[in-house]
Amino acid sequence: MKFGRRHIISMKDFTRDEIDFILGRAIKMEDLLKNGTSDLLKGKILALLFYEPSTRTRMSFEAAMLRLGGDLLNLGSKEASSIAKGETLADTIRVISTYSDAIVLRHPSEGSARLASEFSSVPIINGGDGAGHHPTQTLLDLYTIKRESHLENLDIAIVGDLKYGRTVHSLAYALSRYGANITLVSPPQLTMPEQIKADLKIRGAQVSETENLEEIMGDIDVLYVTRIQKERFPDPTEYKKVAGAYKITPNLLENVRQDMIIMHPLPRVYEIDSSVDNSPHAKYFEQSFYGVPARMALLTIILGVEM
């Protein structure tokens, strides 16, 4: 598979074979993690350009790079704000790409990663571009499903803010590559955009929609819960209504499939009661761990390490 030096901008750019290849590599990375560290990326430098804070994504990339024996260049938050005032992103990328072997970019504007790829001499990894894409989140979600459930013949319910949630959109696109049976659960104000639903059907996903989470709980392998963001609602009482609509509690889990798993990209607020954390169904903390091997896999692949 030809992957070396490729930019990682959007999950839409990936074929199923390519996704399978990355997930297969992630399994090797997880084995490697069990045996300590490695020096697969010794001498390589990953630059982390975060124009907005995202502790989880940044630290997960840092952990992945350190576990592989590589080094990091980190843009401090002060520097980020001073660059944001003056220099263009294009110029910053032109310079930073001469210092490093790959760049993770997190930026508030949609399309910023695509722009960066036009000016960079090294691979760009999109670490989130505004409401656009967050492909490595999708890779770790897929990896979690592969490890804790199964990607073939998957029955998955995606719950919460399906309108604005970029990770949910790109997860659904990727799952359509596996012919998944997707149930979209959201309040009417936050349903998945029509255009995306149409795309999903064309790509082979079975898509249905409901507002009622309870009635489908017994028919799913994966319950993917997302946060409903307060800032989307001008009226706080409206927010309270929908925010409480899908609270995952032990009661809700009474009649689920034995091996059903619950995922959440974190951070969570109201959506999952902490009394669910000890349930065998809860896999959201495992999910955040899986971000490390998934990102290790991606880094070795784009930096041309053969295994």
């Binding site: 508030p108 504007s109 399309g111 695509r114 722009l115």
Partner: protein, 147 residues
């Protein structure tokens, strides 16, 4: 009403009914312009419901202008008139990509900042949709407003 033939210039025919004013806008023709321009609107047509026609004297269009017209009126024809004769006649052709012509409607798109790039859109047909190559936002309506 009959509009007299022109000696030199361009006749844009088969403009989608109601789009003539947008064609003038694309060509930068305002009421204050000195160009001699005739416009016929909602003319009955054999090939489409109704059509508009724009005649411009002493001006031949640039390819970029023709491309812009194609986005709002994909069946328009361009007739170049020289000495009262049709010297060249062709349909507009919808390009696969338009660069630097249309502004992205997504206010949070990186192409709307001071970065050293021009806007780029992939063009899809039936109906015409423009997909921003940066933010992937799809524009389907009021394309003429975005020039």
């Amino acid at each position: 009403m009959r509009v007299r033939p022109i000696r030199d210039g361009t006749v844009i025919d088969h403009i989608m009914g109601g789009q003539a004013m947008n064609v003038l806008k694309i060509l930068g023709i305002k009421g204050t312009s000195s160009a001699v321009v005739s416009v016929a609107m909602n003319v009955p047509s054999k090939t489409q419901e109704s059509k508009d026609i724009v005649k411009i004297e002493n001006r031949e269009l640039e390819q970029k202008e023709v491309d812009k017209i194609s986005l709002i009126s994909p069946n328009a024809t361009i007739n170049i008139i020289r000495n009262y004769e049709v010297a060249d006649k062709h349909r507009v052709e919808l390009p696969d990509m338009v660069e630097g012509m249309v502004k992205c409607v997504n206010p949070n798109c990186i192409s709307n900042t001071n970065e050293p790039i021009i806007s780029k859109f992939q063009v899809k047909k039936d109906p015409i949709r423009l997909r921003c190559l940066y933010c992937e936002h799809v524009i389907t309506e009021n394309i003429a407003e975005l020039y």
